[in-house]
Amino acid sequence: MVHTNTMEGSLFEPTLYIVKGMCILDSDGNRILAKYYDKDVLTTAKEQKAFEKNLFNKTHRANAEIIMLEGLTCVYKSNVDLFFYVMGSSHENELILQSVLNALYESVSILLRRNVEKRVLLENLDAVMLAFDEICDGGVILDSDPGSVVARAALRPDDVPLAEQTVAQVLQSAKEQLKWSLLK
């Protein structure tokens, strides 16, 4: 595969293999989901987890959107107790990576009905795994439109639209949202 950065000059390499990795970490920096796509970058689970720890330590306090770390450009975004990261080569168009992060965050947010927090994510882990798979295929951006990613990944047949939810469900989700808005 055309993964490696063979280009000598400083032009961007004309390749579709742009995403080196994506991950979601919890508020302790532990991996909830992570995928690495380049067979030359962070190949063992040990290396990956060490990188994730380092990345988390450098980013969890500063909400600075982007960081260059260990030869990778990482864009990130957090909410409540979840941290979303997209990694690319340091010779890559940052704005393309940013668009992938937006797709990841927005898709997950829609899937979790805007309750972007660890507990709800774990309850819907299968759908989030499918969303991961719909956004990036082996390092190639497959789809970056959250609407269509969710249409392809959210397939739970008994998922009822908001209008048909029971009063209890609506109350529960309202309570959750209130809880976090107070804690922020």
Partner: protein, 358 residues
């Protein structure tokens, strides 16, 4: 607040995470449940999620364990539940590198790939291409060609991206699909057009003349997809770099045109290419002013992109960067440390005595 405290405690005990402390042997035992009929989609989905979670956490599966799990998973093809089927595809992909005899699911996947359900088709194509080797590719070649020009964008993209992956192992075969891919470049769907351009460009990598034709043709009637445009800019920039003659002027003009695109991604891509290609400071002016604007953006990734490309320019054209000194000085105290560091190093390389005082 009491609600929160209870939640917090639960989480500490691991009660909040149903996937914590999963045991591989127990999960593998649970996968025997897949043999039961009728299939309980919910329960099976949960078990598959556990298997995928363990793999994702870096748990090592032996060949035998992976093969066992894989064969258990294949039993689930009898269920028609969409979510379950999609999780089965995902498991097939994840286990395909570890398990033996994975080609056993070829016929099931081929059936899904040519079936009526679009959601199955796209995912089945991707799973199928992850298990096929080049000898079996010929058997599905006809379906792949059809899928590339399918009117459903998910199906078309799945086939194109799979073709791209396969081109590393079977380049000659995939090159035969270039005509279909060429047709797909004109798709209204942004991603299909992007993936198609990637496949076509990949197949012409070693044929400069046809690459020139491709870039010239697409440069005249620019693509709608921002991603595809970024790729086209890269291809054009590469042609300029390889060719110093006047004929490369048309590519430069195309790239300069992209500076006025509405997508920031494309604008940056063009500015970056120009900064790395242009030889005189005067030619650089439009690109540099775009990067200058980026440095003042409220989005950190834009500021970083702008500062990084300017930093790279210092080696070649320090005077062009000197004009942006004020913008870079504003970035020294940037809340993003990567941006601040870049700004400082760039200023140190270009700075004059006068700017040190400020």
């Amino acid at each position: 607040m009491s609600v929160f405290k209870r939640d917090k405690k639960e989480e500490e005990e691991g009660g909040g995470n149903p996937y914590q402390n999963l045991d591989k042997t127990i999960v593998l035992q649970e996968s025997r449940y897949f043999n039961q009929t009728p299939v309980n989609p919910r329960k099976c989905c949960l078990i598959l999620t556990k298997v995928l979670y363990l793999l994702n956490q870096g748990e090592k599966f032996t060949t035998q364990e992976a093969t066992e799990a894989f064969f258990a998973t294949t039993k689930l093809f009898q269920s028609k539940d969409v979510m379950l089927r999609r999780m089965v595809y995902l498991c097939i992909k994840e286990l395909s590198g570890l398990a033996q005899d994975v080609i056993i699911v070829t016929s099931s996947l081929t059936k899904d790939m040519t079936g009526k359900e679009d959601l199955y088709r796209a995912a089945a194509i991707r799973a199928l291409c992850s298990i096929t080797d080049s000898t079996m590719l010929q058997a599905i070649e006809r379906y792949m060609k059809q899928a590339i020009v399918d009117k459903n964008p998910a199906v078309s993209s799945a086939a194109l991206v799979s073709a791209l992956h396969l081109s590393s192992t079977a380049p000659d075969l995939v090159r035969r699909w270039a005509n279909e891919a060429q047709e797909a470049i004109a798709s209204d769907n942004a991603m299909v057009s992007y993936h198609a351009l990637g496949v076509v460009a990949g197949s012409r990598k070693n044929d400069k003349l046809s690459m020139v034709k491709l870039v010239t043709r697409l440069g005249r009637s620019p693509l709608k997809s921002p991603y595809a445009l970024c790729l086209l800019i890269r291809l054009a920039a590469q042609l300029v770099e390889d060719d110093d003659s006047d004929s490369s002027q048309s590519y430069i003009e195309f790239i300069e045109c992209c500076l006025r695109h509405k997508s920031e991604m494309v604008i940056y891509e063009a500015a970056h290419a120009i900064v790395n290609l242009r030889k005189t400071t005067r030619d650089l002016a439009p690109a540099v002013s775009v990067l200058q604007l980026f440095c003042g953006s409220s989005k950190a990734s834009l500021r970083l992109a702008g500062a990084r490309t300017l930093a790279r320019l210092t080696a070649k054209h320090p005077t062009a960067v000197a004009a942006c000194a004020v913008d870079l000085e504003n970035l020294i105290s940037d809340s993003n440390r990567s941006v601040a560091t870049l700004a400082v190093t760039t200023l140190l390389a270009t700075g004059a005595e006068s700017s040190v005082d400020r």
